[in-house]
């Protein structure tokens, strides 16, 4: 079952035309194998995966990979994913961008714009911002609650 209606899918296809490099949506879930921890079921994992399948279907340059916590714990470690549903957006390189939760409603636009940025290998930052960030001495983590 598709979560995106045709009209929405058409808008997504149009937006994703801005993607110039391949983008991998590396999705982390649990329970896809049927194995769950009672009381800790991931309620939004299934819906998130269906949404990402729809999005990946809107562009030849966007692909979806699915890793289950119980079947493939090594991938969680490799991408630094500690929660589900979790998503690593990886373009020409891994820019360290992760999304946790279901990107629905307003946040669907956040997901699309992030895919476009990753797929262009660039974000629309002011030159002064880039200059200042280039002087940072060490890795930082920025957590944004959506």
């Amino acid at each position: 079952m598709h979560l995106l209606r045709e009209r929405e899918a058409e808008a997504v296809r149009t937006r994703l035309q801005a993607v110039t490099h391949p983008v991998r949506l590396v999705f982390f879930t649990e329970g896809s194998s049927g194995l769950v921890i009672p009381g800790r079921e991931c309620r939004s994992c299934g819906e998130t995966q269906r949404l990402l399948e729809d999005v990946a279907g809107c562009s030849d340059r966007v692909t979806l990979e699915v890793h289950d916590r119980f079947g493939d714990p090594g991938a969680f470690t490799a991408y630094g994913i500690d929660r589900v549903p979790g998503l690593a957006l990886v373009g020409a390189s891994d820019y360290g961008i992760r999304y946790y939760g279901l990107p629905a409603g307003y946040e669907f636009a956040t997901l699309l714009e992030t895919i476009v940025d990753v797929g262009r290998g660039s974000a629309d930052l002011a030159p002064e911002t880039r200059t200042a960030l280039a002087t940072l001495p060490r890795a930082l983590e920025s957590r944004a609650r959506a």
Binding site: E107, L133, A139, L140
Partner: protein
């Protein structure tokens, strides 16, 4: 630098840990918090502040 985007409604433990009362709320390096959808220079200030005391939050 890495960035985690979190759906607040799905992760109440993080909401409690970072004292989130409204969204968006941006936390840099577990130390500097920014409320609201602020302009880019304000976010940069937060990052510089977290990185070592440079910059002032507007």
């Amino acid at each position: 630098m890495r960035a985690d985007i979190i759906e607040a409604t799905e992760f109440p433990d993080l909401v409690a840990r970072y004292a989130v009362r409204g969204v968006p709320r941006t936390i840099v390096d577990d130390r500097v918090a920014v409320e609201g959808a602020v302009p880019e220079p304000n976010l940069l200030d937060a990052v510089l502040q977290a990185a070592g005391g440079r910059g002032e939050s507007a």
